[in-house]
């Protein structure tokens, strides 16, 4: 198999410590970025939706909005691949707790917000996007597997794709099992060809399973607290640290990524 060659046009990032990709760049440059407010702004959502939206939706729409804005593309034209290892854990915790105690009292809104594709559903509604959209999961390899799926859409369909990968913090008894300590989200706008908006070229190659690339602190600690933060080696690479990284794409499969900086 030859390498899958794709172009990055936009990057989005949100965690309790980092408001956006610029904050990661400044952190890696030795500065101390100002942490964002406790709740992602998710400005792409209409205000009434924003008030009611669950955490997973706010986080996904925040990072998606950042990446699309950086790319300069019209969100309605982008196919969407939204990945998450666990979906919205506060909603799953609420659903399971309610079902155990008073199942007939389950909230209909929380139920429809519990589907794994709720964030991409809200995104397509907010942006008027009729393009194909999907929601995927691959346990601890959700980012790598999502990136592989997004790259395959970019190249097979020759179209730009929005990749989002988010996980909320764990909550309730389930939170102890998933081990997610804090939220993390990231997004990439990926294109099949070089353009004026290109930030970097990525060459992706499938490999046998391999350990994730090492990371410096505090990034390594953040990676341990959320499966979507497995993307951090690539995010750091896009911010200028190193030229190659390795991520898991499945339990038995690795993804080697080589970067060539364009901008």
């Amino acid at each position: 198999m030859s390498a899958l060659c794709i172009y990055v046009e936009g990057v989005g990032l949100w965690s309790p410590q980092l408001a956006d990709f610029g904050a990661l760049q400044s952190l890696l440059g030795g500065a101390m970025p100002v942490p964002p407010p406790g709740r992602p702004a998710a400005a792409t959502l209409p205000p009434n939706e924003r008030r009611r939206a669950p955490e997973s939706v706010l986080l996904a729409i925040e990072v998606a909005g950042q990446a699309v804005a950086m790319s300069g593309r019209d969100a309605a034209t982008l196919a969407c691949v939204f990945a998450s290892s666990h979906g919205d854990q506060p909603i799953t915790d609420y659903m399971c707790a309610t079902l155990a105690q008073a199942p007939a009292e389950l909230s209909p809104i929380r139920f429809h917000n519990s589907v794994h594709n709720a964030p991409v559903g809200y995104w397509t509604i907010a942006t008027g996007c009729h393009a194909p959209s999907t929601a995927v999961a691959a346990q601890h390899a959700s980012f790598g597997a999502g990136l592989l799926e997004a790259a395959s859409q970019v190249l097979a369909e020759q179209r730009a794709v929005l990749l989002v990968c988010i996980d909320t913090a764990g909550s309730g008894p389930l939170g102890e099992v998933t081990g997610c300590h804090e939220p993390f989200g990231c997004a990439l706008v990926l294109a099949p060809e070089h353009s004026g908006a290109t930030l970097a070229r990525l060459d992706l190659q499938l490999t046998p399973a391999c350990p994730d690339s090492p990371l410096e602190e505090p990034l390594a600690g953040w990676r341990g607290g959320n499966p979507s933060a497995a993307s951090l080696p690539l995010m750091a690479m896009l911010a200028g640290v190193r030229r190659r990284c390795q991520l898991a794409a499945a339990a038995t499969l690795g993804l080697q990524i080589d970067m060539e900086k364009v901008a």
């Binding site: 991409v120 996007c129 995927v136 959700s142 499945a250």
Partner: protein
């Protein structure tokens, strides 16, 4: 404009649902117009509705080496994998291509959330999961695909698609792209969803569940009956199996309208249909049969019937088979793909069970009773919450558009 795609060979396929285990059981039930629905005897608290339950799923015992994966969803997956010689076909493909060249791409909406519900029903004294439920791998949406990849010993790409009720239709598209790009040589696609309190009480809270067996496209329809199912297909390049039925095309699109009701004009559904026809190189008039999404919800059936009426001539036959299986949610795509392939193989247009007083919105294409005729090309529609639409196009071996 889309290029016409090179078809893929479907070298094995199988389904297990309330109407039986495997293709022959499905064909028999369809021929006899025999529904698999029964009064709800599943939920942890009473709920007056009908369900499509797979008998014996709770009795399936996984081998010791796989026991960490035990839960209703993975047990149903195991049951499904053992029908129609599916395992042997996968083993043969594995010998041909190697484990790393075969992907596992599965759709599910419930995954094994039923096990997480159970863990919450019997938390230990400290408020945590009981020891036997402390199995992180089953309390995640990826439980099914990770289990199937492990059980089959496959080491290629492994992905869960979870877009509600379109999930196990969309995986055919994932597989086609990966095969076209040379990332893999074959893919196990399909999906499994199982009955659980989340979907029974959730759809009930949305007032979408009928108190009677569901009646798709009936004037008096009043909601869905929830079912469970497992289904799988093995996809390979067409030149490796020119005698196999074909995946001719697929289409995917988003409504951009509402989280839990379809676009009033069926916009996303029509975009997915047009995309599938274009990719397959088909004109609508070449379609012999459409297995409809037809859930028996007011809105879905109204919108979908109107789409059939404006897009297809009367010679194209159409029906929903949810009256047989119930709405198997994330597994609906693969179950109904299997029914579309049975229609091609046996020249059987399954009647739209439950539609005794047809809604006037349904045109001349609707097959209310079984019909026997040659089927070269069959489509399958699958639509999900979040306005997520998929359409698959299948054809008999050797068919060219």
């Amino acid at each position: 404009m889309l290029d016409v795609m090179t078809p893929l060979a479907i070298t094995a396929h199988t389904a297990t649902s309330a109407i039986g285990r495997g293709r022959a059981a499905h064909l028999d039930a369809l021929r006899d117009a025999r529904s698999g629905l029964r009064p709800n005897d599943f939920s942890s608290a009473p709920l007056a509705c009908w369900i499509g339950r797979v008998d014996g799923a709770e009795d399936v015992v996984l081998p010791n080496a796989l026991s960490v994966w035990a839960c209703r969803n993975n047990q149903l997956a195991w049951l499904g994998l053992h029908q129609d010689g599916f395992l042997e076909h996968v083993q043969a493909a594995c010998a041909r291509y190697g484990a790393a060249r075969i992907a596992v791409l599965l759709g599910t909406s419930t995954a094994s959330i039923g096990a997480t519900e159970e863990a919450y029903r019997r938390l230990d004294a400290d408020g945590g999961f009981a020891d036997d439920m402390l199995r992180p791998a089953i309390h995640t949406p990826h439980s099914l695909a990770a289990f199937v990849a492990t059980a089959l010993g496959l080491e290629g790409p492994c992905l869960t698609v979870s877009t509600a009720c379109s999930s196990s239709a969309k995986v055919f598209a994932n597989a086609e792209r990966m095969i076209r790009l040379g990332l893999i040589d074959a893919a196990v696609v399909g999906g499994v969803d199982t009955l659980c309190d989340s979907v029974l009480f959730g759809f009930n809270a949305l007032e979408l569940v009928s108190p009677t067996p569901c009646r798709p496209f009936d004037a008096a329809r009043d909601g869905i009956s929830i079912g469970e199912a497992a289904g799988f297909a093995l996809l390979e390049r067409i030149d490796s199996a020119p005698g196999a039925p074909q995946l001719l095309g697929y289409g995917e699109a988003s409504d951009a309208h509402h989280m839990s009701t379809p676009h009033p004009d069926g916009l996303g559904a029509e975009l997915a249909l047009r995309d599938a026809l274009a990719r397959a190189g088909l004109d609508a008039s070449q379609v012999d049969y459409i297995n409809l999404h037809g859930t028996a919800s007011q809105k879905n059936d109204e919108v979908e019937a109107a789409l059939v009426g404006r897009a297809f001539p009367a010679r194209t036959r159409a029906s929903s088979t949810k009256g047989f299986t119930g709405h198997t949610l994330g597994a609906a795509g693969i179950v109904e793909a299997t029914i579309a392939l049975l229609a091609i193989e046996h020249g059987l247009i399954p009647g739209n069970l439950g539609g005794d007083t047809p809604d006037p919105v349904c045109g001349a294409s609707f097959a209310w009773r079984n019909e026997q005729q040659r089927v070269d090309v069959a489509l399958s529609n699958s639509f999900g919450f979040g306005g997520n639409n998929a359409c698959l196009a299948f054809a008999r071996a050797g068919f060219t558009a």
